[in-house]
């Protein structure tokens, strides 16, 4: 079983601060996705990274896939209250596989 460990589990920061959350595994993933889930809603896809070393930017969010495709990070610049939510990473163990392995998530609270 391929596991994804996310850290930190909880993060509370002030509006305007920067933060980074991590998603780590001892296994290689073909691709990795990040989802954000708000209370009472289902997760919503933010990004998919497929190439080792890949960096993708989505406004104030920067996603990186590790060179060895075993880890990923999400960096948020100048966090806003609207960024509050549960951030989940999900790994695809091999190309064409339909089973995603989800981490337990990082619960982010941005205080105005």
């Amino acid at each position: 079983t391929q596991l994804l460990e996310q850290s930190p589990q909880f993060l509370s920061i002030q509006e305007g601060e920067n933060l980074t959350v991590y998603c780590n595994s001892s296994s290689v993933f073909s691709s990795l996705q990040w989802y954000r889930q708000e209370p009472g809603e289902g997760p919503v896809l933010l990004v998919t990274v497929v190439t080792g070393g890949e960096v993708k930017k989505l406004k104030r969010l920067t996603f990186q896939f590790g060179d060895a495709r075993k880890d990923s990070s999400l960096h948020i610049t100048a966090a806003q209250p609207g960024d509050t939510g549960l951030y989940l990473c999900a790994g695809n163990p091999r190309a064409g596989s339909y089973q995603l392995t989800f981490g337990k998530g990082t619960k982010l609270s941005v205080i105005p």
Binding site: L4, S30, S31, Q33, G40, E41, G42, P43, V44, L45, T48, V50, L88, A90, N92, A95, G96, S97, Y98, Q99, L100, F102, G103, K104, G105
Partner: protein
């Protein structure tokens, strides 16, 4: 509708009762997933349907759990003789195709099940 629809949104039941949870996926999406999300836990895969292929039931935790998908569209997850440890949010997701490097899962809002 435009998104994945799940019902009921909340269900409170007594231990030992049976429950049915319904999922209406996005029209045209051939892949359908059920996940379970317990407090403090990640999403736990339960079952996967793809077109007319036999479903992958490998994630169902016990034989009290079953699911079907009629006509390649609506799916029902049934839990028989519910136990307190079944309390969780049950999420349904659909996808245009099997999850791949660029596949995206579209999730419903979930059905929150509480077993007293």
């Amino acid at each position: 509708g435009a998104g994945v629809s799940q019902s009921p949104s909340n269900k409170v039941t007594e231990k030992g009762k049976d429950v049915e949870l319904r999922c209406d996926p996005i029209s045209g999406h051939t892949a359908l997933y059920w996940y379970r999300q317990s407090l403090g836990q990640g999403l736990e895969f339960l079952i996967y349907f793809q077109g007319n292929s036999a479903p992958d039931k490998s994630g169902l935790p016990s034989d009290r759990f079953s699911a079907e998908r009629t006509g390649g569209s609506v799916s029902t997850l049934t839990i028989q003789r519910t136990q307190q440890e079944d309390s969780a949010v049950y999420l349904c997701a659909s996808s245009r195709r099997p999850s791949s490097e660029v596949g995206e899962l579209f999730f419903g809002e979930g059905s929150r099940l509480t077993v007293l």
